[in-house]
């Protein structure tokens, strides 16, 4: 586009224009990706939800570290701590497991 142009030919106004255009392109591109991710997620969840309702004997999800009981609302902080600790210790992503119950003895 501007191959071989000199700084004097571009000038500060030209540089500003290029910068503004560049930022707009980056924002628009990532906004578009964001939109696509949201649409894909909805689509996948809809398809997977439909598959689950039509085939209730589907394979079980990955083994949860503890018994499948919903965590209490006030345990968010503890869940976050445990998620980070498990992810760090097992060198895995927090997406690869789910804490479903925390039992204290």
């Amino acid at each position: 586009m501007f191959y071989g142009i000199t700084a004097a030919e571009l000038g500060m106004a030209g540089a500003l224009l290029v910068s503004v255009c560049g930022l707009i392109v980056v924002f628009m591109m990532l906004a578009l990706l964001s939109l696509i991710i949201m649409l894909t997620s909805k689509l996948v969840n809809a398809v997977e939800g439909k598959a689950k309702t039509t085939a209730p004997v589907a394979s079980k999800p990955a083994a949860a570290p503890t018994a499948p009981v919903q965590p209490a609302q006030d345990q968010d902080e503890l869940v976050a701590v445990l998620m980070a600790a498990i992810a760090s210790e097992s060198d895995s992503s927090p997406d690869s497991f789910r804490i479903t119950n925390i039992q204290t003895h």
Binding site: M1, F2, Y3, I5, T6, A7, A8, L10, G11, M12, G14, A15, L16, V18, S19, V20, C21, G22, L23, V25, V26, F27, M29, L30, A31, L32, L33, S34, L35, I36, I37, M38, T40, S41, V44, N45, V47, E48, D76, E77, V79, A80, V81, M83, A84, A87, S93, P94, D95, R98
Partner: protein, 391 residues
């Protein structure tokens, strides 16, 4: 006896010592190379890259080696480093490194929270600000000149992404490649020192204490579709991003599809390590005294620092905007992770957040903007190559 003295004299006359005596800058570059080796080996600053880069620099400044002699078909000779450097000249190594990064990266936090992509975009502010800074220096500072293409390559340092900076420099500013690569990797290693003061300056203790809700679980199908969709959309819109985005997403597909574990393993371990050696050596080897010890290098170091700081500011600014628009649900500290530097920048967000509130865990939330920054800087680099490159 006189024959012996003559032979010894001739050997000495053709030795590298004469070259160093003739041009003191070689000696200075050898000292710089040794300092960089010290920083890599003893201080542990990005040693996997800094050690080969510094050693390449050391080799480049030993005179008369002929290591960089280009291919001479008539005499069947070629310099070893010239052969290795073709991978940088034609942007092969950075693309392969990106494949490895893709295989190592979990895009789950980004898919779970797509708004992270905006933070990754805002943190590219430094690229464009440093570009303007470099053009301004060319226009107003006597004795220093960067063409707009070189200014664009310098700006990409602000993307905090080594392979992207190297690829852009190889296409837009081959002579400035070593200074740009060394500045980019040095600042990436110094992120834990550079970012926290800016983060504290731009946020209030109340903002830093915000706890974000747990991210949703991302399904396997979403993770498989993501790299395919990103490749199609981004490369269709900006074809110049194909080497970076294409390889990044291929590596990620290896990781996520579940049927190519062996390829994923080799991409993120063996292949990445194999390519890192010639990449580092080639980059370092381009830092010969005549090209490196210039006023331009000093300007690049300063502009690179400004680019890093402003990228951090850009991410934090949007983080603050999101904090207010979401009613305090987003901690603005994750915005600074929008500069690529995976996972260092996300760790910095975690550390700064935890200092304010020890029970706060921002790491996974910061990983979203962090990996978005990789895509953002590749898009910004593709834009610059499109605008200032050939064709």
């Amino acid at each position: 006896m006189s024959f012996l003295i003559e032979v010894i004299g001739k050997i000495f006359a053709s030795s590298g010592f004469v070259g160093i005596v003739q041009d003191w800058r070689y000696g200075l570059m050898l000292v710089i190379a040794c300092v960089l080796l010290y920083m890599g080996i003893v201080k542990g600053f990005e040693p996997l890259l800094l050690v080969p880069i510094a050693f390449g620099m050391l080799l480049a400044n030993l005179p008369f080696t002929g290591l960089y002699n280009s291919l001479d078909v008539s005499n069947s000779t070629v310099g070893f480093m010239w052969v290795l450097s073709q991978g940088v000249t034609y942007a092969i190594y950075p693309s392969i490194i990106f494949m490895g990064i893709g295989a190592m990266t979990d895009f789950g936090p980004l898919i779970a929270n797509p708004i992270s992509l905006m933070l990754g975009a805002a943190a590219q502010l430094g690229i464009f600000a440093a570009f303007m800074g470099a053009v301004a220096i060319s226009l107003f500072v006597p004795g220093v000149y960067f063409s707009p293409a070189e200014a664009a390559a310098i700006g990409v340092i602000g993307g905090a992404d080594g392979p992207t900076a190297i690829l852009t420099a190889s296409k837009l500013a081959p002579d400035l490649l070593p200074a740009i690569a060394i500045a980019a990797y040095s600042y990436m290693a110094l992120i834990p020192l550079i970012q926290p003061p800016v983060m504290k300056l731009m946020t209030t203790p109340k903002e830093r204490q915000v706890k974000m809700s747990q991210l949703r679980v991302v399904s396997k199908a979403e993770k498989i579709i993501f790299p395919i969709a990103v490749t199609i959309i981004v490369v269709l819109l900006i074809p110049d991003t194909a080497p970076l985005i294409g390889m990044l997403m291929l590596g990620n597909l290896f990781r996520e599809c579940g049927v190519t574990e062996r390829l994923s393993d080799i991409a993120q371990n063996g292949l990445m390590n194999i390519v890192t050696i010639p990449l580092g050596l080639s980059v370092g080897f381009k830092a010969s005294a005549d090209k490196f010890l210039t006023l331009e290098t000093l300007s690049i170091v300063l502009l690179g620092l400004c680019a890093f700081l402003l990228s951090t500011v850009g991410g934090l600014l949007l983080g603050k905007i999101l904090y207010y628009t979401t009613g305090g649900k987003i901690n603005p500290l994750i915005g600074s992770a929008g500069v690529s530097a995976v996972p260092m920048a996300a760790r910095v967000s975690q550390v700064v957040g935890q200092k304010e509130n020890p029970s706060n865990f921002l790491l996974m939330h910061a990983m979203g903007p962090n990996v978005a920054g990789v895509i953002g800087s590749a898009v910004a680099a593709g834009f610059m190559i499109k605008v200032f490159g050939i064709g």
